[in-house]
Amino acid sequence: MALKKLRIITLALSLSASLLVGCASQKSESLVIYSGRSESFISPFLNKFTALTGTNLDVRYGDSAALAAQLLEEGSNSPADLFISQDAGALGAISAAGLFATLEKQVLDRVEDKYQSSRSDWVGVTGRARVFAYSPERVENLPSSIDQLTQPIYRAKVGIAPTNSSFQAFITALIQSRGEAAVVNWLERLKANDVKLYEKNSQIVAAIDAGEIDLGLVNHYYLWEVSKALGRDIAVNNGFFAPGDTGNMINVAGAGILKTSTDSQSALELLKYLLSDEAQRQFIEQTYEYSLVLKDASPVGLPPLSQIPSPRVDLSLLANLSKTQALLIKVGLI
C-alpha cells in the first residue's frame, strides 16, 4: 500500500518535473532589478515607471546585504541591471568591488555630493535620519546628546539594535568623529546603564509603545511602519539631539547600475525617474522618507532635511563595518 503511494507520488512528480523544466529555460528581455527595499514600499514606483515607459521590470527582492553578497558572488555573470539598496553600506561594497558602472553627471547632480558615491557609481535616492524614538508620556526632559543616555535616569530605559546595520553605521560615524577609545567608553557606559538590546528597529519602537522601554535609537520612519503594522496610532514620537550630534546622522537608500547590465539605458531611465520631483514627493508621502532632491519638503511632523542638525558623515566608510562589529563584540553588545 505504502509502496503504491510512493509510486503514484513519484509518477506525479516526474510528470510535473518534465513540464517545468520546459518552462524554466525561458529567459525574458526585461530589465532585471535586485531590490533590497521591500516590495510594499518600492513596487508602486516601479509599476508607475512601467506604465510610463512600457519597460518591463523583473524584480528580485531580498535583504540588501544578502543581495550585495549575491552580486559579489555572481561577479561578471550577474543577470542584474540595477541594484536598489536600503543603505549606503551595501552600495559601497559593490562599488569597492568595481561592479558598478559610472553614472552620468546629470543624474549625480540631482543630489548633494555627500549623498552619493565618491567613485560616481551610485547615487542616494532617499534619506533616512537617525533619531531617538521616545514615549512622550514617560520622557519629560528630552536628551540633547547621546552622552546623556548613560545617565542613571535612563537606566534600563533605552533600547538599541546593535546587530542592525543602521546602528552599526551610526557607530562607524561616531568612531570617525570621536575616535575608537571614546566610542568604546560610551558603549561600555551604555551597557553598564543596562541598555536593552533588540534585533530590529521596529522591535524597539514596538517596545516603547508597549511600555517596556522609554526611548530607543532608530531610523525616523519606523514610527509609521510600526503604526501601520499594528493598525493603530502608537504613543511614540521622534526626537533629534542637539546640532552636530552624531545621533542625528543621515543615511541614504540608493541605487547603482551594474557593469553587466545589458540595457543600461533603461536602467538609467529608471534611476532618473526615481530621482524625479514627482517620485521624490511620493517617497515623502508614502514611505515617510526624506527626499534628497526636494530639500525643503519633509515627512509629516518632522523638520526638513536642510534643518536637521546632522553631522557630516562619509557614507563610503559604511561599506566596511567589520571594525565596528569587532568593537561591538569587544564591548559585548553583539
Binding site: M1, A2, L3, K5, L6, T10, L13, S16, A17, L20, V21, C23, A24, S25, K27, S28, V32, S38, E39, S40, F41, D58, V59, R60, Y61, G62, D63, A65, A66, A68, A69, Q70, L72, E73, E74, G75, N77, S78, P79, A93, T163, S165, Q168, L197, Y198, E199, S202, A210, E212, V226, K228, A229, L230, G231, R232, N320, L321, S322, Q325, I334
Partner: protein
C-alpha cells in the same frame, strides 16, 4: 562558541526525550484519532522558526534570551525525532515483545531490552537532525538575541560583506557538526535482526488503561498546544486584530509554487539519498563517506549554502535562477534529512529475508524490489517528508535562486514580516502549515500503516 555548543546539546537532549516519549506513547497507547495525532505532532516542523519565534514574542513581552531559544528550538526540532522514531517503531518486531512479556519482563525492561535496540539508530538519526538544525538556525536565535556561530556568520555578511572571514567561521561550524556526526555514528551499532518471515512481525497490543490514556493525551495535548496551537492561534489573532484584504490569487499561486518546488526538491533528494543510504547500510566505504559529507554541509546556514550555489549556478546562464536549480538546491540543502532515514530503513531490513529470497532464485534486483523496498518504504517516506517540509519553508537560498516572480509562501511571508507586517504575513504562514499537513497526513494514513506486517507484503 560555548553558547553554540551548550544550546545544541541541551536542545538535542530535551527534544530527543520529548520526541521519543511522544512517539512511544502514540504507538503504544490506544488513543482515538491516533493517526491524526501522529500527523499533528509532526506539523510544528512546517512553521518557519522566525514566524514561530515571533508569535511567542508577541504573546509574552520580553520573551528573549537563552532560555527562550531553548524553549523554541526544542519545540521546533522535536518532530524530527518523533517522525524517525515512529517509522522505526512501525517496523519493530513485536513477536519478541510477546516473548519478553511471557517471560515476565516489566514494561520498562521490555523497552530497554527489546524496543530500544530496534529503534536506537532511528532515534539517533533524528537527534542528529535536531542538533544540525540548532547549529544552522538563524531565525529564532536572532530574534531572541542569542549569540551563536551562525548569527556571527550572518552578521559578518551584513556588516562587511567579508566572505573570507565568514567562511572561516563556517568552517568552525563544519568542524562542530563533524563532531556531532561522529558521536551519532559511534552510538550506532550494527543491527542484527533475524526474522524467519515478515508474517511474524506482530503488532503489540496497545494499552487501553484509562489512566494511561489520560496521561498520554495530556502530554500530547501539551506539546501540540505549545508547538502548534498557541503559535498559530497567536498568528491568527494578529491577523484579525488588523486584518487586511487577502490577495487570494497570489495566495493560491504561492501555494502552488511552494508545492511544486518543494516536491521536486524532495524527489531529487530521495533519488540522491537512495544510493548513498543503500551503500552506507551495506557498510560500503564510499557510502559511509558520502553519507557523512552530506550531513556535514547540513549544519551550514542557508546564506552560506545559497551563496555557494550562486557561485556555481551563475556561470551557467540557462540554469541560473531556474526552477530546476532551485529544486536542486532544496535537494542538496535537505538531503541529509532523508539520508539518515534511508540508511536506517535499509539497516532494518532483515538480512535473512534477503538470503531466503536469493535461495528462492530471485535475482538481486527482484529481491531489492520485492523484499527490501517494501520493508524500507515507511522510513523512505518519512525521510522524503522531512525534506518536503523543510523545503517548503526555506528562505535564504530561495530568495537567491528562485526564478524572478516565482513567489513561494515563505518568500511572501518574508516580504511582509521583514517590514514588521506580521498581520499580512499571517495568512501565508497559516496556509503553509495547512499545505504541509496534506503530505504529513497522507504518509501517516490510518488505514494500513497501523496494521503493518499483517497484510502488506
Amino acid at each position: 562558541m560555548a553558547t553554540t555548543l551548550g544550546l545544541t546539546i541541551a536542545v538535542t537532549a530535551l527534544s530527543t526525550l520529548i520526541g521519543l516519549a511522544l512517539a512511544w506513547t502514540l504507538f503504544n497507547v490506544d488513543l482515538s484519532l491516533k493517526s491524526t495525532l501522529q500527523a499533528l505532532v509532526i506539523l510544528p516542523v512546517a512553521i518557519p522558526s522566525y514566524v514561530f519565534t515571533y508569535s511567542w514574542i508577541s504573546l509574552i513581552p520580553g520573551f528573549k534570551g537563552l532560555w527562550a531559544a531553548l524553549f523554541v528550538l526544542v519545540l521546533a526540532t522535536t518532530p524530527y525525532i518523533t517522525l524517525t522514531t515512529l517509522a522505526a517503531l512501525r517496523r519493530s518486531d513485536w513477536s519478541t515483545y510477546e516473548v519478553a512479556q511471557t517471560l515476565g519482563l516489566s514494561g520498562f525492561q521490555i523497552f530497554v531490552r527489546i524496543t530500544w535496540p530496534q529503534i536506537k539508530n532511528s532515534v539517533a538519526a533524528g537527534s542528529l537532525l535536531s542538533a544540525l538544525y540548532v547549529l544552522s538556525d538563524f531565525g529564532a536565535i536572532s530574534l531572541l538575541g542569542v549569540d551563536t556561530l551562525t548569527r556571527a556568520i550572518e552578521n559578518i555578511y551584513r556588516g562587511s560583506f567579508d566572505r573570507s572571514s565568514a567562511s572561516i567561521l563556517a568552517l568552525i561550524l563544519v568542524a562542530i557538526s563533524a563532531l556531532v556526526i561522529r558521536l551519532e555514528e559511534r552510538s550506532r551499532h550494527k543491527l542484527r535482526i533475524i526474522k524467519s518471515s515478515s508474517r511474524i512481525i506482530k503488532r503489540a497490543k496497545a494499552s487501553d488503561k484509562f489512566k494511561v490514556k489520560v496521561i498520554a493525551l495530556l502530554g500530547i495535548g501539551l506539546y501540540l498546544a505549545l508547538g502548534l496551537v498557541i503559535p498559530l492561534f497567536q498568528l491568527l489573532s494578529i491577523f484579525l486584530a488588523n486584518s487586511t484584504s487577502i490577495n487570494y490569487s497570489l495566495l493560491f499561486q504561492a501555494s502552488l509554487s511552494t508545492l511544486i518546488a518543494a516536491c521536486l526538491g524532495a524527489l531529487i533528494a530521495l533519488a540522491l539519498a537512495l544510493p548513498v543510504g543503500v551503500l552506507s547500510a551495506q557498510g560500503s566505504r564510499l557510502g559511509r563517506v558520502s553519507d557523512k559529507a552530506i550531513l556535514i554541509v547540513h549544519a551550514l546556514p542557508g546564506i552560506v549554502m545559497g551563496l555557494a550555489l550562486v557561485s556555481f549556478g551563475s556561470s551557467i546562464g540557462w540554469l541560473y535562477q531556474s526552477l530546476l536549480l532551485l529544486s536542486f538546491a532544496y535537494a542538496l540543502l535537505f538531503m541529509a534529512k532523508a539520508v539518515g532515514s534511508v540508511r536506517s530503513s535499509f539497516d532494518r531490513v532483515p538480512k535473512n529475508l534477503i538470503e531466503i529470497s536469493a535461495t528462492l532464485g530471485q535475482r538481486k534486483s527482484a529481491t531489492f524490489r520485492r523484499v527490501v523496498v517494501p520493508l524500507a518504504t515507511p522510513g523512505l517516506l518519512s525521510g522524503t517528508l522531512l525534506v518536503l517540509l523543510a523545503a517548503m519553508k526555506e528562505l535564504p537560498a530561495t530568495l537567491m535562486l528562485k526564478p524572478i516572480g516565482f513567489e513561494t509562501l515563505a518568500t511572501q511571508m518574508w516580504s511582509y514580516s521583514s517590514i514588521f507586517r506580521f498581520n499580512e504575513a499571517a495568512p501565508y504562514a497559516l496556509l503553509l502549515v495547512l499545505i504541509a499537513a496534506i503530505p504529513t497526513f497522507l504518509i501517516n494514513r490510518p488505514d494500513k500503516s497501523d496494521g503493518i506486517g499483517d497484510d502488506q507484503i
